[in-house]
Amino acid sequence: MRYCMVIDLDKCIGCQTCAVICKMHHAQPQGTWWNRVFTQGSDYHQSAVGTKDGFKIEYLPVSCQMCDNAPCERVCPTGATYKNEEGMILVDYDRCIGCRTCMAACPYGVRQFNWKDPKKAKEEAGYAYGYPFDVTEKGKRLVYTQDRPAGVVEKCTFCVECMNADGTYDALPACVRACPGKARYFGDLDDPNSEVSRLVSSKQVFRLKEEYGTEPKVYYISSTKSKNVEGPWTEQSWENKTPNTIIP
């Protein structure tokens, strides 16, 4: 079992619903986004790039790439970040000491650090939203809790709270279920008959920063409309962004 996500960039409409459902569902406080949507090459979301000879607005949703060869896992000094039997990279919040080495190691900038007590931050901004129950693996690894402690690192879990004991999912990850563009697919890459395997083998797909050898398990189906601007994606599109935008 090796779960992966496929995102069709032709179908993605850049609406950010995936980012918001993830934030709401997983109780992310202000400033924290496990999942973000960028407009490739553009300084501001949904504004065009190019010249009058050819414009383009093309999106790139970015969350944890669930690497098979995950640098974050290798650098974690406490074993808090680990890969489970289904190939998902998870953080055990009980073990995380907040050293943030993983954040430096991750080439995708998706790991988020709790500078403040998230519970307090949410209550100040509104109320205590999010999935209210704890989720543990192996009876001991706390991989989801509504209010993570201050000083831990967190990120996308492929909605581990939706996974059954046998590794099957009873509800797809929230971003897949909520995507109004129907752009997201989720399934087992080891199963050659799964929809994700079929897409990965039949469509023109790419992964982010493959040159690092991280072997991500998030695949992007290339847009068929990216004729006017170079590359399937550009560094500028998301790397220059501060991950945490905090409202004063």
Partner: protein, 865 residues
């Protein structure tokens, strides 16, 4: 691995389509975390299916996860029988709980004690607040007449129970119902003018059935997030998508072709296509003879349609209803009566040439068919002339015209960015011409759609919206235009213009009851409205909204209602075919009350005893259920088979008459032989059929005002010539930038301005989108604070340099509360231009004076603060 919790989740997900699946979480195995949260085990978890119903009119089914009486998250219910509609919902709907529990949530009734706009209120008990508000309304009614009290409910279909309750109190007391359509500038006037309807649009799953889709100033990839996938899928199915928009939009980015045309030049583009279709005889002659007014003869002496009653030897059909007119066509060398109730003209009816007709009075008159006049008018729009006027490349015009004429079905989407102009109606009429000439009306996947201002009721609501037991009681009619005291539209000062047909309250509007309406931020012209409170012209403003908005701060009384997670309601809008319930996921928060309860209590205090008209013995949710039952029973053919019991199980599809699972606009006319128009609820046919007296699709209007302004035919008229340049001729030099207020993905108009997650996604600042060259000329860099200004007002917002923005265009995403734009208001720049053709008839929310938000010129500079 201990993941049993997920099994319980699954159980909930499966039953959640039926509302209110409740289980004590303590009774089931939770995640076997080493130390299970004892509190969680004691908690109550339930999933409730309700309907998200702001003024995007999306009507999306949502499922709230409620734990211990608090909404923890929201996700699309995805329970539509036509599964292509799943999942319906967007980033705003799923974060709506930020508004329910947010810092601006109302806690209970308030009376303003500070100056207008100041946040100084006295908390009152409901008893006191209702007593005082009712006393004010009684005083105003006694002093100025009941018609001086106006109620606004915005989109009827988003809440039949609450909005009907407000209409009911207005009916009982003779207060006025003021159309939100007109206030919002959303009235697509081309629809009543051409088709006699309020609007008729494809339900979005029919986008899949079109093969050629043309968007004119419509940006569904941002404004119709739950439906946008249908456009992508239509392209996957082989449809071609063309976008005509001054700017490169998110929708343009998904299109096969995009053309940056000059703002408000669409009619010329359409006429350029029409000319090719006419010249090359690519039109569907049978269709236009049968269903349009193009064969009808126009008198050369007075530009009126020739009446059968005036022609020697012609009979007027005996059983013709009063709202019809029998006109004349010409066939086999003689005039023939055009029966307005039947499509029975001979197929050889003459479309071209001049004929001389003998009248009953012995005189003769020269006449030409509408088609002939149209062809002559269109003939000036050669590809070169079109390019000169619009920037549409001449070389592409013949090809696109041929594609329109040969590929079926063609669907034209006409966006509000495009029709919120002084000549928005002309553009819509010219674009309608393309689908009419090519017979692309009345079949699956074809037609002409507008998707803003979806106020249309899907079924009869009169049993609740009015009081059928008291047939003499009626709400008054009025116009938002009467509140706008301006040089060119001085209704408030001088009364209506002679051409105005809308009833005028003799003292003006003195009290305003607002629901789902943040007028003092959102409306054209908010600053004028604010001044009316400050000056005392508006003596009593009451808002029912559940949040403290800018409007609350100008209200005299806040009588807070509740959100769509706290009550029972009925929702059905035109975008998809489902009737749905709102169901209470949580108790009304704090001391807020369902609006039906508020109206019942208010009605009884305005007029003792009137409680009896609002199900006095039932709690608000039970009373709402009775209203829904009544509406199901009396809603007419569309409500066939819809019951409260079924609605409680999930969304119920409304009935339609045409075969197949998707409703087809104008099917009854094109394929069933019924005359135009189909009924537009809540109006009866006699009110709307007068718009198209011929019973046909009309491209020639002969009412005096149309003749006077030279708009009998759908001609092109450039923007600003009759508006900005009349008001201030110097504007030509002073204000060269077109100011367009488009919709944002982060707001539904002003709703969600304060949603903290939406604010984060926008870096917590309002943006103005500029072309980089324009910005460079003014020394403006990305992120600079910019002042957009004209003689009327100013706006402060942060610059985004977007090369897709057409030069000489300034784009602002409407809806921001003024607290987020440094106290400025984006709509103070606007002017309430009223086009006289909007005054020809008055049928509220259909043919009425309509504001034009994009007809606005500005300049901008780097702000100094």
């Amino acid at each position: 691995m201990d993941k049993e919790l997920k099994l319980t989740r699954r159980k909930f997900l499966q039953v959640s389509a039926a509302a209110g699946a409740v289980a004590a979480a303590g009774g089931i195995e939770l995640a076997a975390h080493a130390a299970p949260d004892e509190e969680a085990k004691k908690g109550e978890l339930k999933y409730v299916r309700t309907t998200c119903a702001p003024n995007c009119t999306g009507g999306c089914g949502q499922q709230a996860c409620v734990y211990n009486g608090e909404i923890k998250d929201i996700i699309q219910a995805s329970d539509y029988e036509d599964s292509e509609h799943n999942p319906r919902g967007c980033l705003k709907g799923i974060s709506f709980s930020n508004l329910i529990y947010g810092p601006n949530r109302m806690h209970g009734p308030l009376k303003r004690i500070g100056a207008p706009g100041e946040d100084e209120f006295e908390e009152l008990s409901w008893e006191d607040a209702l007593d005082q508000a009712a006393a004010e309304l009684r005083r105003i009614s006694d002093t100025y007449g009941p018609e001086s009290i106006a109620c606004v409910v915005q989109v009827a279909g988003t809440g039949h129970v609450a909005k009907g309750a407000i209409s009911r109190i207005a009916t009982l007391n003779g207060w006025a119902m003021m159309g939100g359509y007109e206030m919002n500038g959303d009235l697509p006037m081309s629809a009543p003018i051409t088709f006699g309807v309020q609007s008729e649009e494809l339900e979005t799953y029919c986008w899949l059935d079109a093969k050629y889709i043309m968007c004119f100033g419509s940006n569904p990839m941002q404004t119709r997030i739950p439906d946008a996938h249908f456009l992508n899928e239509a392209r996957e199915n082989g449809a071609k998508l063309l976008v005509f928009d001054p700017c490169f939009t998110a929708t343009a980015s998904k299109a096969d072709e995009w053309y940056s045309i000059k703002p408000s030049s669409d009619a010329a583009v359409a006429l350029g296509f029409a000319k090719v279709i006419l010249d090359e005889k690519l039109y569907d002659a049978d269709f236009i003879r049968k269903f349009t007014d193009m064969p009808i003869l126009i008198r050369s002496d007075n530009q009126k349609k020739l009446l059968a009653a005036d022609v020697e030897g012609l009979e007027v059909p005996a059983d013709m209803p009063e709202y019809r007119q029998a006109f004349v066509a010409y066939s086999k060398g003689k005039p023939v009566t055009v029966n307005p109730e039947k499509f029975d003209l001979p197929m050889d009816t003459q479309l071209e040439g001049e004929v001389t007709i003998r009248l009953r009075d012995g005189k003769s008159v020269k006449c030409r068919p509408v088609f002939d006049l149209l062809s002559e008018m269109a003939s000036q729009w050669t590809p070169e002339a079109v390019e000169a006027e619009t920037d549409m490349p001449a070389s592409e015009i013949p090809r696109i015209a041929r594609e329109i004429a040969t590929i079926k079905p063609v669907h034209i989407m006409y966006g509000a960015s495009n029709y919120q102009w002084y000549h928005g109606d002309l553009k819509g009429r010219a674009l309608s011409l393309l689908v009419a000439l090519t017979g692309n009306i009345g079949h699956l996947g074809d037609g002409f759609s507008t998707y803003a201002g979806q106020y249309k009721m899907r079924y009869k609501g009169g049993a609740w919206w009015n009081v059928p037991e008291l047939p003499d009681k009626k709400p008054a009619g009025t116009s938002f235009a009467y509140m706008l005291d301006y040089t060119l539209n001085d209704y408030a000062k001088n009364g209506p213009r002679p051409t105005m047909t809308c009833p005028f309250p003799k003292s003006g509007i003195k009290a305003w009851i607002l629901y789902c309406c943040n007028a003092f931020d959102q409306h054209n012209i908010a600053n004028v409205l604010r001044e009316q409170v400050e000056s005392g012209q508006l003596e009593c403003v009451i808002t029912l909204d559940f949040q403290k908005t800018t409007t609350s701060k100008y209200a005299h009384f806040c009588l807070p209602g509740v959100s769509w997670y706290e009550k029972t309601e009925l929702v059905s809008t035109p975008i998809h075919p489902y009737a749905q319930l709102m169901q209470p996921a949580i108790e009304p928060l704090y001391d807020c009350k369902p609006e039906l309860w508020i109206m019942r209590e208010l009605a009884d205090r305005v007029n003792p005893g009137d409680r009896k008209w609002f199900y006095p013995d039932l709690d608000p949710d039970k009373a709402a259920e009775e209203v829904i039952k009544l509406t199901c029973e009396t809603g007419g053919i569309e409500m066939e088979g819809v019951t409260l019991e079924k609605l409680k199980q999930g969304p119920v599809k409304l009935h339609h008459e045409n075969p197949g699972r998707k409703r087809i606009p104008f099917y009854e006319q094109i394929q069933g032989g019924q005359p135009f128009p189909p009924v537009s609820y809540p109006m009866t046919i006699d009110k709307t059929a007068q718009f198209v007296k011929s019973g046909r699709i009309e491209f020639y209007k002969d009412e005096d005002t149309f003749i006077k302004v030279g708009e009998c035919l759908p001609v092109h008229k450039p923007p600003f010539e009759e508006t900005e340049y009349v008001l201030n001729p110097a504007a030509r030099e002073l204000y060269k930038y077109t100011y367009i207020t488009r919709n944002s993905i982060h707001r539904v108009h002003s709703t969600h301005s304060n949603n903290q997650m939406m604010r984060e996604l926008q870096d917590d600042s309002a943006k103005v989108y500029l072309n980089p060259d324009d910005a460079a000329e003014k020394g403006i860099a990305a992120g600079d604070l910019v002042e957009v200004f004209n003689d009327r007002g100013k706006l402060l917002a942060e610059a985004v340099l977007d090369p897709g923005v057409r030069t000489m265009t300034v784009i602002f995403e409407e809806g921001w509360w003024s607290r987020y734009t440094h106290g400025t208001s984006y709509n103070t720049l606007l002017y309430p231009w009223i086009n006289p053709v909007h005054e020809v008839y008055f049928v509220s929310q259909m043919w009425a004076p309509n504001t034009s938000w994009n007809e606005c010129l500005v300049d901008f500079k780097k702000a100094e603060i």
